[in-house]
Symmetry: C2
Subunit: 257 residues, 2 copies
Amino acid sequence: MTSEIGPTFRRCHSGSSALSGVRAETRAALEAMCRPRRLCAGQTVIHEGETSDYVGCVLSGILRLQKTLADGRQHIVGLLVEGDMFGRVFDAASDFSVEAATDVEFCAFPRGRFETLLSHAPDLDRALLLNILNELDRARDWMVLLSNRKISSRLAGFLVLLCSRFASIDRLFELRPDGLEIRVPISRTDLAHLLGTRTESISRAFHWLEDKGDIEILDPDRVLVRDVAALASRTGDDETDEIASLKAVLASRRTSG
Amino acid sequence: MTSEIGPTFRRCHSGSSALSGVRAETRAALEAMCRPRRLCAGQTVIHEGETSDYVGCVLSGILRLQKTLADGRQHIVGLLVEGDMFGRVFDAASDFSVEAATDVEFCAFPRGRFETLLSHAPDLDRALLLNILNELDRARDWMVLLSNRKISSRLAGFLVLLCSRFASIDRLFELRPDGLEIRVPISRTDLAHLLGTRTESISRAFHWLEDKGDIEILDPDRVLVRDVAALASRTGDDETDEIASLKAVLASRRTSG
DNA sequence: CGGCAAATTGAAGTATTTCAACGTCGGTGG
DNA sequence: CCACCGACGTTGAAATACTTCAATTTGCCG
């Protein structure tokens, strides 16, 4: 197992990773303290309210960052993919749990040692800062997305975000002559928790987008996006549908009547 | 003006501020490069998509962090209060504008000089990191709040958040024998943009909470919270109302019928 | 007092939730 | 091999909540 994770660990320091750009020396120090881990879908990485002993960096798979509410409902506030870091650095409080949405591989760095390294390696410190700023922007993008009143708009926004943000994860996409095939990496239930609604509404939204011709549902977890631009235009409160023009006609009729 | 801001500037480095905890030496350096600013409600501090030349720290008043959508709608993704920092450090992209929600005073630090100081002052670097981690958590709390399907739940959540997060701003609160009086620091319109809805719905939600006895509307911008706990319990999909028990009765009747 | 902006209210239209039922797929055990 | 089960996705219909548009009220300012 270690022999397999060893080489993949390097992914953690390359490409779009949070840790790309750190010096070789720092990288070596990180590698020395890295504890490879592997979990199955559904397992909990960090329990809510618990101070984790390590900081992690995702190698493969998807983690969900979520909060369990008093009434038992769960809400997902973010997805972590290859190259994303998680776990609290220093004492920054955070009451979210981290669970595996799919089978997952990640590196665990003992928190104390990581923080010590952080103090001595400005490049790592800088990389972490940029990573967190990036996370902050992502969170805010989610907020804008959640502000959409129509579920189908939120779903369209999610799919567009998937294309733009997770574009680096080849495994999820496949360019086809008739569009872009996307693997939706999480279940309908998780998608509902993410978009603040129920699975039934998610299902209806998918089929509504299909009816509009923007997407084609190949499998529950595979979608063919015919036109990303069209999808993006659904992100705003669109209504540029037939309905809007119909409304305009009715309005003018009422005025003249 | 400067004579007035001079002393207030110290607030920026004390109490709950992002910059509390930095060494006196670093503080002096900051003070040396500080450019006090003052703006009226409605003015724009940083335009969307524009690279600001400075990093700011709020002294008084409230700024709103928002995004203007393609269709002209605006959505607020965060509020900045005393001690909060804003503006991009390094090149972290961010497409949000910053506007004054109320009259506002803040310090502006030239970005280049601030970044240079950051490289030489680990304490400032650390403080900034913690500040951003804090912002990240706040953003995620907003997401959870926005996931509520009932507007009244979102509003209740907002009021509770106001109590807990902005508690340090004395000006906004007053403890009374019959409850806690809160000054709602932003307009109904902004509140609507923040909670992802319209002013009419906000108004109805306020009055619904009043009917339930959780709050009393003293003025449009002053609310008496009778019982914070009761309000907090509305944050979840509550329904523990009369309606829920009524439903149970009806259900059992239907089963036995 | 008139004008204006913000807040509120009503009524009709629209979207989502809820509850319940059905279909599909993959695994299990007879 | 096939029946059964459970997890997951889908669909329908009624209940509920929100949005929209329009009208009205309130409070503030000149």
